[in-house]
């Protein structure tokens, strides 16, 4: 799914990477405020939805080859994170929707979920 479609589904603001919305695609979504689990369960080419905004969110995404982050619940990251995202050409979106609503809309529109291994 293209980020431009995600932007419209979530009525999101684009904080970084407006020009890359039509060329960046994600295959799956993963929504969590627990980065420990993101590191363990997010697959590549996944869209990260989170309500945490500190700079380690960007670094976690970068390590996992996550192409884009959507900040939910009206949270917006600081300039330090945005600057790193600009440098890495990682589009950053922000929506006022809850994590539940944002995830539901994306899942309903066909964005797949990550497989959580049985442990």
């Amino acid at each position: 799914m293209k980020l431009s479609e995600i932007r419209s589904l979530l009525q999101a603001d684009v904080l970084v990477g407006e020009e890359a919305l039509d060329t960046t695609e994600v295959e799956k979504g993963y929504a969590s405020d627990l980065m420990s689990d993101v590191l363990a369960f997010a697959s590549p080419a996944v869209l990260l939805l989170t309500g945490l905004t500190h700079v380690q969110i960007f670094r976690t995404a970068q390590m996992l080859d996550i192409p884009s982050i959507v900040f939910v619940r009206g949270k917006t990251p600081g300039e330090d994170l945005l600057q790193l995202a600009r440098g890495a050409k990682m589009p950053i979106l922000a929506t006022c929707m809850s994590m539940f609503e944002a995830s539901g809309r994306l899942y309903g529109a066909g964005l797949a979920a990550c497989n959580i291994p049985r442990r």
Binding site: L34, M35, S36, L39, P44, L52, R59, M63, L64
Partner: protein, 146 residues
């Protein structure tokens, strides 16, 4: 790559918002060396989790990267308090991380199991009061041409 590529990184204590700088450098080096992307991703996760452990548990320390054509080796060494029970530390959900780390969304006891899952071999040596050494290897499976 006739001889192995070696690099060392210093990881400072309590630099919570710098966690990942060494891992990001490791990732950039592996890209530059032309390592396959799935290997880079696994190595990056290992490096990031290991770097986080150095900062939040080890009182800072040192990381080593060793790259050979057939494998990537990542080591994290600290002179911190050590791990009293390694078997317990390897269990998912077991954590001794501080409240501050947990508020950041980390420290849920997933790190060492995640390092193990993303490595082909993992060695964890620790002595209470002396420190901890973690060595993880990720094999590069060469794709055959033709």
């Amino acid at each position: 790559m006739a001889s192995p590529y070696l690099e060392n990184f210093v990881v400072d204590e309590n630099e919570l918002f710098s966690i990942g700088e060494a891992a990001a450098q490791i990732k950039a080096i592996l890209k530059m060396l032309g390592i396959p992307s799935d290997v880079i991703r696994r190595a990056s996760i290992v490096a990031y989790e290991a770097e986080m452990n150095l900062v939040i548990h080890g009182g800072g320390g040192r990381m080593e990267l060793e790259v050979r054509p057939e494998r990537v080796k990542i080591s994290a060494l600290d002179a911190g308090p050590g791990i009293p029970d390694i078997e317990k530390a390897m269990m998912e959900g077991f954590s001794t991380a501080s409240e501050k780390i947990r508020e950041m969304g980390f420290g849920a006891g997933m790190g060492l199991p995640n390092i193990k899952r993303n490595s082909d071999s993992l060695e964890l040596l620790s002595e209470v009061g002396k420190g901890t050494t973690l060595r993880a290897e990720i094999l590069v499976k060469q794709e055959r041409e033709g």
